[in-house]
Amino acid sequence: MIMGAVDKRNQHINDSLKEAQEAHDALAGLEEAKEKALAEQHAEQIRIMNENQELRTQLIEEAKAQARAEAEKIVADARLKIQKEQAEAMAEIKREVITLSVDIAEKLLQRELGNKDAQSQYIDNLLKNNEKRIEA
């Protein structure tokens, strides 16, 4: 009877040890799975970070290109505007010079042809030149 109890006790201890070993093994498996999951998560994080870095670099490059294009357009527009204003100013100066020159010529001719004799002389020459042109 005592032996039976000892055997039973031994059996119980063995079962417990076995259960403990199984629990230990299961825990080790879980630990491994956790490590694996952590490694995968870490790899995913690195991948996402890399992707973000590329996107960031791309966005920065695009923003830089856009800013450069806008700056070039502003410079080109400003250059065109300056050229246009320069041309207008030159044309205005030219017009004024022409008007002034013609006005001066007009005043001089008015003085030169201020009397009847000068008018007659001028018309004489005009008609002679015209005759020559007709003969030619």
Binding site: I98, V102, A105, Q119, I123, L126
Partner: protein, 180 residues
């Protein structure tokens, strides 16, 4: 019938009448004087000639006054005829048409000369000779003065203009320089 056709018809009749009486040049002179006076007061003239309250004899008197002396009897006779036909208000157009027909028949060109100052007869004669030599015709000169021309002259012949004025040359110079 429009005014043009009416005036041409009457002008031709007057020219035929004047040719028969060999007085076309005298009638022409009278009509030149009439159109000159008429041009100075077109509106009042038209008002009087088309006013039914004014008698025909008063209208004729107005026309005779505008023509001045001498008035050739042929034209006087024609005025009575036109008045009788109720066309006295067309006398100005008839006069113009007569002048056109007369000049065409005599190979005369009307030349309107504008000069900057009044010119002596010698210079005007040279311009006239220039026109006659150029167009192979007789030239009837009508001169007026426009000081804005500065010098030279403007010549209007029929529908053509020759600008030999200083003002014209300066304008051309200004345009040419602006194009450069």
């Amino acid at each position: 019938m429009d005014n043009g056709k009416i005036s041409v018809r009457y002008a031709r009749a007057l020219l035929n009448l004047a040719c028969q009486q060999q007085c076309e040049a005298e009638v022409y002179d009278c009509l030149v004087r009439l159109t000159k006076q008429y041009s100075l007061a077109i509106n009042p003239f038209n008002e009087v000639l088309s006013n039914p309250m004014i008698t025909d004899s008063e209208k004729i008197q107005l026309i005779l006054t505008a023509i001045g002396e001498p008035i050739h009897p042929c034209l006087r006779q024609f005025l009575d005829f036109v008045t009788e036909k109720k066309r006295v208000n067309k006398i100005f157009l008839i006069g113009l048409k007569y002048q056109e027909m007369y000049r065409k028949a005599r190979n005369i060109l009307r030349a309107d000369v504008t000069t900057a100052t009044e010119l002596d007869d010698n210079t005007l004669g040279k311009i006239q000779s220039f026109v006659e030599d150029t167009f192979h015709c007789s030239a009837e000169m009508h001169v007026k003065v426009d000081p804005s021309l500065i010098g030279g002259f403007l010549l209007d012949i029929e529908h053509d203009r020759m600008d030999a004025s200083i003002a014209g040359r300066l304008n051309k110079l200004k345009k040419d320089l602006n194009v450069l």
